[in-house]
Symmetry: C2
Subunit: 199 residues, 2 copies
Amino acid sequence: MGIVTADFTVTLDGYGAGPNQRLEAPFGEFDREGVHAWHLDHADENKAEVARITEADAYVMGRNMFSPGRGEWDVDWKGWWGAEPPYHASVFVVTHHEREPVPMKGGTTFHFVTDGITSALAQARTAAGSGNIAIAGGATTINQYLAAELIDELRLHVVSFTAGVSSGSRLFDGVPRVGFEVASARHTPYVTHLTYRRA
Amino acid sequence: MGIVTADFTVTLDGYGAGPNQRLEAPFGEFDREGVHAWHLDHADENKAEVARITEADAYVMGRNMFSPGRGEWDVDWKGWWGAEPPYHASVFVVTHHEREPVPMKGGTTFHFVTDGITSALAQARTAAGSGNIAIAGGATTINQYLAAELIDELRLHVVSFTAGVSSGSRLFDGVPRVGFEVASARHTPYVTHLTYRRA
C-alpha cells in the first residue's frame, strides 16, 4: 500500500497564505511570487523536490485550493492549472457542494467529494492502487489530515524570510500534538527542504 | 566586531513555551522536557550545537527568562542556573525595574537594564569587546531584536513534534517581514538545527 504525503511551502513564520484570500488573489495579501520562487523560478536548483510534488498516483485537495470562495459551483471553473493540469491522475476535491467529475487533458480528472476527508482519502486510495496519495493543500486541508494523523510523510519547504502578516493560513493551526521523525534536511540559501515521517 | 546570535528551540509549530507561564512553571503548560531533550538528554548527539549556545562573550535576556513574573525584584532570586550559571560572562537582563548587578561564581554577572533593548545590546557590545553577543531569550525578547533586525545569526533547533497548544510564546509573533539566508541545516531524527544569517 502506498503512503500519504503532503508537500507544503511555508514562510519562516509558518504561513502558506495571507489574509483576505479571494478569487482575484488566491493567496490573499501575501508575497506568493517570493514564497514560491524556489520552484517557480529556481526549479533547477530544487529539481528533486519539485518532481516529488506531482509524482503521486492520486491527490486530495481542499475546495479553497481548487477554487477560492464558497457556495455553489461555477461549472465553467476548472481550476488554476489550464487545460492540462500537472497531476495526470485523479484529484479528489473536498467540498460541501456536489458536482459532476471534470476530466481534463493529460489524465487529470477532478472528482468532488461531499462526505469529508476520510471518504476523500479512501476514494484516492482506490484510485491510487498501490501508489502514493498526496494531500495537495491548502493549509486548512493539510491541517485536518495532520490532526487525524493520516499523513505519513510531510515535506516542508521553508523559505528563509517571514511573511510578516498578522493573519492568514498557517500550517499546524488547530493541530494537536503530533510527532514525526526527520528523514532528511537539505538547503539552498533561500529554502530548506525538510522531510518528516510519522513517528 | 562580533556578531549578534540567538539560539532558540521551537516545536514544529513554532512554540517556545506554552500558556500560563509562572514561577512554578516557567514554560507554562508545555512539554519542556520533551522539547529540550535534544540538549538535556541527548547532548552527545548534538555536541556542536549545545556548545555554541554558551560560547558568546556577553548575553542579553528578557526579564521573563531570568525570572517569570512582573513587578519589583525579589533580591533573593538569582536566576534558574544555580550558583555558577553556564554563561561565564556578563548577562544583561532587560527589565522595567532597577536592580544592582548580581555577580555569580564562574564569571557570570547579571546586569539589569531599564532603558530598552538597544541600550542592553550596546552595553553587551561593550562587555563583549570584539566577541559575539547572544540574545539568550525568551521568544518575546528575541522577537523584539528580530523586528529591529539586530540579529545576525539565528540558530533554530526545531523539534519534530507539534506543541499542540492554542497559545503561548511563539517565535516570530509580531515580527514584520525579515529576510535571512540558510547557512546550514543538520538533523537527527528528533531535531533539526537550522542556521540563518541575516540577508
